[in-house]
């Protein structure tokens, strides 16, 4: 397949709010189970080890008509829980056997309870992660949480999740993470060949495909993309921050690029890059996952930063690594974690004289003109004067 064909396939997956691919995967073998999860992070290795597909639910995008979902939320709450409810209420998730709601904010937290009331027969778990990073405090708690999740999934699938299977799954996800890292490196190196549109859609494919298949697609895309010879545009290099949960419409990502910005890093679908390094495969697998979480995971507003001096360091180092010329803080409207974190991050940007702008979006934003204008002016100013 050419890169265009690969991306076309990914785009079809992205637009398919009925999740046909996952349905087909499940239908192929009656013992298979599908577990949905919401952003930011859940340990997909555990589901994989139980022969389950973990299905990333990232709202409904800008095409889904939200009727029932809107009935459950006031206007000052972000969009993703509404469209997620719409997906559920409209039967689009009827093949999903369980849902995981990671601890990221109050909205998703409460959604877990709503899901219980709405779908009483489904396996629903609020997945709490530690905000204390000591092995014997937060670590112990987290290992026990992982164990509870493991037992819950065992019951649901009827399969025992052995340590061996877990180790195997960790290894496969290690490959996936390595490939995604490579993809990001490649884009930073040649953003004219690897557009943000492509990177985004490739990431999205990882939400709905079995990891093995995703790995193949990534490999193939990168091999082809590196050989392309697209014209280099007079764009500036920027990083997107704050979009870790509700996703912007694809048009927005395209608009930013069109307005003269190459996106060289972002926090879309952080789960693909949450664990920064290889997770060791020998030893106790749950403990390995826990340690990776505690000590070697990406930064995001949903996490507590236990040392004041570390606030913003992750972003700063990404700016340096990616040779970014600026940062665009793009957060969903009404997103508490992103918007509360933002002043702390912009403070750091100012200290280091990194140009930055902020705006808000919604997954169904229709008007791109203000976005283009702000991103465009940002690009203009970097291009004309820096």
């Amino acid at each position: 397949m050419s890169t265009a064909e690969i991306i076309k396939r990914c785009e079809e997956l992205y637009e398919d709010t009925h999740f046909t691919a996952a349905r087909e995967w499940k239908a192929a073998d009656p013992s298979r189970r599908v577990i949905g999860y919401m952003p930011v992070y859940v340990p997909r290795e555990i589901m994989h080890a139980a022969n389950m597909l973990s299905l990333g639910i990232l709202g409904g995008g800008d095409k889904l008509e939200v009727i029932h979902g809107d009935a459950y939320y006031q206007s000052y709450i972000c969009r993703i829980p509404r469209s997620t409810i719409e997906l559920g209420k409209s039967g689009r998730l009827d093949f999903v056997d369980g849902m995981l709601f990671p601890s990221i904010c109050d909205v998703i937290r409460n959604l877990s309870g709503m899901w219980k009331l709405m779908f009483p027969s489904s396996y629903v778990r609020y997945f709490d992660v530690p905000q204390n990073y000591k092995d014997d405090v937060g670590g112990n708690y987290y290992v026990a949480e992982l164990q509870e999740l493991r037992e819950g999934l065992e019951k649901l699938s009827g399969n025992k999740i052995t340590d061996e299977a877990l180790r195997n799954s960790i290894a496969i996800y290690n490959i996936n993470r390595a490939l995604i890292r490579e993809l990001y490196d490649l884009r930073a190196e040649m953003p004219h060949n690897v557009s943000s549109n492509d990177v985004y859609l490739l990431n999205r494919a990882g939400m709905v495909l079995p990891v093995e298949e995703h790995n193949e697609i990534l490999r193939e895309y990168m091999d082809k993309a590196a050989q392309q010879d697209n014209p280099v545009r007079d764009n500036c290099r920027i990083i997107i921050n704050g979009s870790f949960c509700e996703q912007p419409p694809l048009n927005l990502i395209r608009s930013v690029e069109m307005a003269g910005c190459y996106i060289v890093d972002d926090d879309y679908m952080l789960i693909n890059r949450w664990l920064l390094n290889e997770v060791p495969v020998d030893g106790d697998p749950l403990e390995n996952l826990a340690k990776a979480f505690l000590h070697e995971s990406a930064d995001s507003a949903a996490k507590y930063c236990d040392r004041e001096e570390d606030v913003g360091q992750y972003l700063l180092s990404t700016v340096r690594e990616r040779r970014a010329e600026g940062v665009i803080f793009a957060a969903p409207s009404f997103c508490d974690p992103a918007l509360l974190e933002r002043p702390m991050l912009t403070e750091r940007m100012k200290e280091h004289e990194i140009p930055h702008i902020s705006f808000k979006y919604a997954e169904n934003s229709g008007q791109m003109q203000p976005i283009r204008e702000q991103a465009g002016t940002f690009a203009d100013s970097i291009k004309l004067w820096s």
């Binding site: 409460n110 877990s112 609020y126 112990n140 708690y141 507003a301 509360l340 702390m344």
Partner: protein
């Protein structure tokens, strides 16, 4: 979320002794805070839900609650300006206004409600119960004060119960993070017997508080369990739980209410006693503070009395049986934090409301949905539907904000309340016609 404490607008005409007492207590805590530079006492900032007052007292520290400050400022019509100051500094208009009011207050010289400068805290105790905003809030404050900050993560009751793993986690954090930091900041050694003593007093006061809240089961109800109860909760939710003063206060309060019941009196409002109880309501969600009195008036003018509310449970759900337990001090503190209202999952919150509507024989459920607070608000529309389904009592929904005056639209709220009351009335008449024929 927190509770209103001082009483600039309170019942001037009906100065019950409990009222005067609680006013004195709240003021005394502000005086203790602002005189800390002279007395040398250490200040610990923390939040109302999951506040560990008994523990803080063990170290001779003073408890400072930023939410309460925001409320005080709102009732003095100061919060609007503070919020705008914070927004000017780059804080989003979408986030919780308590945070912005607090940050704005800081920028405006950190003047305490008693008019004196508020000392910087000596430690931030981030007992992170029931709301993610707390976490970022104290990260923001930490940046400002650069003081020791201790995170007490309180896991959420995702499945509606407290597991041993959660309890162990909290206890472990108390032992290894919270207590050592407190010792270090205060220079006082931890004395578990002192803690037990405090907790014993807490439990006593809690008994009386529960009695007071449950007095609303009488008809007419002698109290308003939302607007009026805010005053009753002041001591319990803030710096007084575990003190003898609190024990005394709740005794006096209980006496007063016993008298009201004996005389079949309704609740006191800023304009005197409610003469006729026409509607009994359960309310979910925090009140609005900027227009507290105006809002309340829309109720008592129509004879609407709140007989139970969930907001009065944010600092502890005592009416469901929890008491601070001096015999298991740390576990009990853990259970206290884990059990706060917004740390309960949604199905549990619905159950509680259902119970209130039934046990307090309410005509309906009113939700005051707060723009600031996703912890409370996300899911309230579903809660309303569930309650309607389960109890048959009608629900109504109004939207306001905590301390941001821009989000209180009196005409809008009044329109809805009016329609709601008229609807209850009409339904009643309809039922009468139906039963008559």
């Amino acid at each position: 979320m927190s509770t209103k404490t001082a009483t600039p607008t309170a019942v001037e005409s009906q100065k019950d002794s409990s009222m005067l007492m609680q006013k004195r207590m709240i003021n005394s805590n502000y005086d203790a805070l602002t005189s800390a530079p002279e007395t040398g006492r250490k200040v610990c900032s923390t939040f109302v839900p999951g506040n560990l007052n008994e523990l803080i007292q063990c170290f001779g520290m003073i408890n400072n609650l930023p939410e309460t400050n925001a409320i005080q400022n709102a009732m003095r019509q100061q919060s609007g300006g503070m919020i705008q100051t914070a927004e000017r500094q780059g804080h989003s208009e979408d986030v919780c206004t308590y945070v912005k009011a607090d940050i704005g207050m800081m920028s405006k010289g950190n003047i305490a409600p008693n008019g004196k400068p508020m000392p910087n805290p000596d430690m931030l105790l981030l007992s992170y119960t029931g709301c993610f905003t707390f976490m970022k809030w104290f990260e923001l404050l930490r940046q400002e004060y650069k003081c020791p900050t201790v995170m007490l993560q309180v896991p959420y009751q995702g499945d509606g119960e407290i597991t041993q793993n959660m309890r162990d986690f909290v206890v472990k954090q108390l032992k290894e993070e919270v207590i050592p930091t407190m010792e270090q900041v205060s220079g006082v050694k931890f004395d578990i017997d002192r803690l037990r003593e405090n907790m014993r007093r807490s439990a006593q006061a809690e008994d009386d508080l529960v009695w007071v809240l449950e007095s609303a089961k009488n008809k007419p109800s002698p109290i308003d369990a939302y607007f009026g109860a805010i005053y009753y909760l002041g001591p319990m939710f803030t710096a007084f739980r575990g003190t003898q003063e609190a024990v005394d206060y709740y005794k006096v309060l209980r006496k007063e209410i016993e008298e009201r019941i004996a005389k079949s009196q309704g609740p006191i409002t800023p304009e005197g006693e409610i003469q006729k109880e026409r509607y009994r309501l359960v309310v979910e969600g925090p009140p609005n503070w900027t227009n507290f009195r105006e809002f309340w008036k829309m109720f008592y003018e129509e004879g609407a009395v709140v007989v139970a509310s969930t907001y009065t449970k944010v600092g502890g759900v005592y009416d469901q049986g929890f008491r601070h337990d001096a015999d298991n001090p740390l576990e009990s503190l853990a259970d206290y934090c884990l059990g706060c209202y917004t740390n309960r999952n949604l199905p549990k919150r619905v159950e509680l409301l259902e119970q209130y509507v039934n046990e307090y024989e309410a005509d309906g459920l009113l939700i005051n949905s707060i723009k600031s607070c996703n912890s409370f608000s996300a899911g309230q529309l579903m809660m309303m539907q569930e309650i309607e389904k389960r109890t048959g009592a009608p629900g109504a929904f109004v939207e306001t904000d905590l301390v941001d005056p821009r989000y209180f639209s009196a005409a809008n709220v009044k329109n809805r309340l009016e329609s709601y009351f008229q609807m209850i009335e009409q339904r009643r008449q309809g039922r009468m016609i139906a039963t008559a024929s």
